[in-house]
């Protein structure tokens, strides 16, 4: 009966979504504040029922209730308890329930932390979020119901995909969804402002902190996914340009453009049309990502739905959202035209250039992701767009964006001149050039790495200079400013980590017999052999390698080769992590006579990639809690 309560709670959540669309809208239209103010309780009630539903499903996993089809297909009695809990979102239906659960949490957050937003605007924002929630609840209940039952429950369930039997599943999807779904909040702000025809200071001011928070979550989600893939897939990569990865990266690029565009619109009242389009674009891309993953058009570890009906539903929803938003945009275009003038060389223009580069970079990723799918759909042949395309197209676009990022914080609002900037920065540039020459002599002659080192030093100097000048001016300490510095430095840390690990990393795929040793980057990897290994839900082999440096033991590594109940083989890499380098070993196949194939990687600065990502997210969070979003000024 408990399962049916969870099911009914989901139905009630759908009913609350309908009420959320109808009643506050009626209240706003007829000027009846009591009805309009009902938006908050409706959001709370909806969240309550979705929470009940979510935890009932989790309970079904934890208690091995195989009468629920979704549980029977994705869990069994031997699965460790952590993976049973995270298996809730390990496949299509549950992950969609997580989607609506996260959306309801965002709605609650908006309703609680928006005391300074005018009530009429807030009620409409919650109504727009209700429309999004309605679409997804309908999708969930009618095409992807996680509470579907089996008439004859099996005694044992199937196995969760072994790739997903990992701590990464517990944290990566919720974080990513917080970011994905979070972009519905700036979208709701923009749509509400367009519906009301009041494109004033309020929505601009309050859209920014919500965009920053969702962007921070999206960053953490992407970073966690990259880290998970790195240690779980067993071949040491951290980004694969997989279409599903791209699906999360595209909204990230647009959201990055949006937070910068918002700062101009908010402060100087310029680029409002552009800001509105970016907010619509960000959420539309997160819906596009959902379509790509759920429709079955993609084949990857993420794409667990292969039902065309589901794809069609999301496609229709996508068209309604994008088409409706753009129609609204066209209708209100006159109101958006009023912009304060901007001169050609100013901070505003610098941020606009940065925006254009980010959006162009996003379009290059979009093209590389969709082009093979479109060709395939039209039966024009199969092509594969991979790393060479993205390296050749994406990097030349994003590099100038990073350079602009370094210069713009030194530029003035309204109008500036190149001469002032050049003279202001001349000394730093000379110093940075000198350091690059030193790096060329003592570290490497690899051009990509030298560029990354130069960029990193440049950014470090820029952060120090900005910080010192702010301290000297004795002005009020601003978290937004501090956040910007951390995030920009995070980009430089990321670029340095990515360039060094890609260019200077070493990879060896070798045959090793017991007692044999292999030297890589000054480390001796001694193969001690392989033993059998068994746990509840898998059995396999465990390798044993001793790593020595200058004949002193550094670490012992135990890579594994597992065979799960489904028969799916899995490679569990053994990693010795550190801030300067990772030593990474993956066990391959037995080659007979006690010999095994072993993959050994030396990954310098690989941790900097994720450290940079975390710094970006931290910077965004600092900016989101800046005092101006909490300041109360007596009117």
């Amino acid at each position: 009966m408990l399962i049916e309560i969870g099911h009914f709670a989901l139905v009630l959540a759908l009913v609350f979504a309908i009420l959320l669309i109808v009643i506050p809208a009626l209240g706003l239209y007829q000027n009846r504040p009591v009805l309009a103010q009902l938006s908050k309780p409706l959001v709370w009630g909806q969240c309550f029922w979705i929470t009940i539903s979510f935890f009932v499903l989790m309970g079904a996993f934890l208690t091995n209730d195989f009468s629920v089809k979704y549980v029977a297909e994705n869990s069994n009695t031997q699965l460790p308890i952590l993976y049973k809990a995270s298996a809730v979102w390990g496949a299509h239906e549950g992950s969609l329930l997580l989607w609506v659960f996260v959306l309801s949490l965002w709605s609650i957050a908006v309703s609680i932390f928006s005391k300074q937003i005018p009530s009429n605007l807030l009620n409409l924002i919650l109504t727009v979020l209700g429309v999004v929630s309605f679409g997804f609840l309908l999708f969930l209940l009618y095409t992807s119901n996680p509470f579907e039952r089996l008439m004859i429950p099996p005694l044992e369930g199937r196995e969760l995909n072994p790739l997903l039997q990992d701590f990464g599943l517990a944290v990566h999807p919720p974080m990513l969804y917080m970011g994905y779904v979070g972009l519905s909040v700036p979208f709701a702000f923009v749509i509400s402002a367009l519906i009301r025809g009041k494109l004033d200071s309020s929505w601009l001011r309050w859209t920014r902190p919500w965009t920053l928070i969702s962007w921070a979550f999206l960053t953490v989600g992407i970073i966690l996914g990259s880290w998970w893939a790195y240690y779980e897939l067993g071949w040491g990569g951290w980004w694969f340009w997989d279409p599903v990865e791209n699906a999360s990266f595209m909204p990230w690029l647009v959201a990055t453009a949006l937070i910068h565009s918002l700062s101009v619109s908010e402060k100087r009242g310029a680029f409002r049309q552009w800001t509105v389009l970016l907010a619509i674009g960000g959420f539309s891309l997160s819906l596009l990502g959902t379509f790509l993953v759920r429709s079955g058009v993609l084949t990857s570890v993420h794409a667990f739905a292969t039902d065309p009906a589901r794809g069609l539903f999301i496609l229709i929803f996508l068209f309604i959202v994008i088409g409706g938003s753009l129609a609204l945009y066209a209708w209100r275009y006159n109101l958006l035209q009023k912009n304060n003038p901007v001169s050609l060389f100013s901070r505003e223009t610098g941020l606009l250039v940065n925006n254009i580069l980010l959006v162009t970079a996003m379009l290059s990723v979009l093209l590389g992701t969709l082009y093979p799918l479109i060709l395939d759909t039209l039966n024009l042949g199969k092509i594969s767009v991979g790393v060479p395309y993205f390296n050749a197209v994406f990097i030349p676009i994003i590099l100038p964006a990073i350079l602009v990022m370094v210069i713009v914080p030194f530029m003035r609002w309204k109008k500036d001149n190149l001469k002032r900037i050049a003279s202001h920065l001349r000394l730093y540039w000379l110093g940075i050039l000198a350091l690059i020459i030193v790096a060329r002599i003592i570290i490497t002659d690899n051009v990509y790495v030298l560029v990354a080192i130069g960029l990193f030093i440049w950014m470090l100097v820029h952060v120090m200079v900005l910080l010192i000048s702010r301290i000297r001016s004795k002005s009020i300490f601003s978290l937004a400013f501090f956040g910007m510095l951390i995030a920009h430095l995070g980009i430089a840390v990321f670029v340095l980590g990515a360039a060094v690990t890609t260019q200077l990393g070493i990879e060896k795929d070798i045959k090793m017999s017991v007692g044999e040793s292999q030297n890589i980057a000054g480390y001796d990897f001694v193969f001690n052999g392989v033993s059998r290994h068994e746990k509840n839900n898998y059995k396999g082999f465990k390798g044993d390698l001793t790593v020595l440096k200058n004949n002193k033991e550094v670490v012992r590594l135990y890579p594994e080769k597992r065979q799960y109940q489904t028969g799916m083989p899995m490679t569990e890499a053994a990693i010795d992590p550190s801030i300067s380098r990772d030593l990474y070993v993956a066990l391959g196949e037995s080659l007979g006579g006690g010999a095994w194939s072993v993959r050994i990687y030396y990954k310098p600065l690989v941790r900097w990639i994720w450290l940079g990502g975390l710094m970006i997210a931290l910077g965004a969070l600092f900016a989101a809690i800046d005092r101006r979003y909490f300041l109360r000024i007596k009117s």
Partner: protein
């Protein structure tokens, strides 16, 4: 359809919760005008701060200040309107009725009908022939229910009605042609109907299953049988050895495959 007291309680709770806020509405935060005045004052302060930090040139300060004042002036042109009251009791009843009718009708559409039917009856297990009838009844209501077609086919095999079971499996196959379990059951039923021969359609179905999941133990076992029927003993051996490699030691079917493998090896020796 079962509507339990818990569900009624959930509807009542929802209605009371919303009615509470109709009688005691949440206070309005602030008006658009107040909000815009506050924000533009903040913008003025931020402009002063930018000026002191050298982020805006002195000659443009006045222009930027004028822009803030102009923006605020345009935002304060609002239309005054009177708020209208509502009758909380009427709205409470409307909302309660709406929740009750809509949630129960949506749930009646979505709830597991087969399960509720079986719950209505006694807990006594059904006989195989009764099960077949129940499954057929369910299929009249849900002709596109893949699981029911598959189960009907399996029940008919158990009753020895091979022709009927093949028809049922064929219906299930049309709904979902990628279910491995179905492909194996279906091919076994056809093979049984053609005196144990896996040639023709059974072979195609096994090959399809193998293409979908080349690591499945059951599929490998059946693929071995198909190869053995075609006298390709090396291939049959390869499939079964792979199945044994993938199987846990405690797997109940291990002995069956080992026996089949032994037979093949004996044949090869001869």
């Amino acid at each position: 359809m079962i509507f339990s007291w818990q569900m009624i309680l959930m509807i009542v709770l929802s209605s009371i919760f919303l009615s509470w806020f109709l009688y005691r509405p949440i206070r309005v935060n602030l008006s658009d005008e107040d909000s815009n005045i506050r924000i533009n004052r903040q913008r003025q302060n931020e402009l002063d701060s930018d000026m002191s930090l050298g982020l805006i040139e002195e000659s443009y300060y006045q222009e930027a200040e004028d822009e803030i004042i102009g923006t605020l002036a345009s935002e304060l042109k609002s239309i005054e309107s009177n708020n209208l009251e509502i009758k909380p009791l009427v709205w409470s009843l409307i909302i309660a009725l709406f929740i009750a009718i809509l949630s129960l009708s949506l749930y009646s559409q979505l709830a597991p009908k087969a399960m509720s039917n079986s719950l209505d009856k006694s807990i006594e297990p059904l006989s195989l022939s009764e099960s077949i009838e129940t499954l057929k009844d369910n299929l009249i209501e849900n002709p596109q229910d893949f699981s029911t077609w598959k189960m009907l086919g399996m029940a008919q095999v158990a009753m020895g009605n091979l022709d009927d079971s093949i028809d049922s499996f064929e219906n299930a196959f049309e709904i979902n042609p990628d279910d491995i379990d179905l492909l194996l059951q279906y091919s076994s039923a056809i093979a049984a109907n053609q005196e144990g021969q896996f040639l023709g359609k059974p072979q195609d179905l096994i090959e399809k299953a193998l293409a979908i999941d080349p690591q499945s133990i059951q599929v490998l076992y059946f693929a071995g049988i198909v190869s053995a029927h075609q006298a390709d003993l090396d291939l049959a051996k390869e499939y079964w050895q792979k199945a044994l490699y993938l199987m846990p030691d405690s797997h109940p079917d291990r002995s069956v495959i080992e026996e089949a493998l032994e037979t093949i090896l004996n044949l090869q020796v001869k």
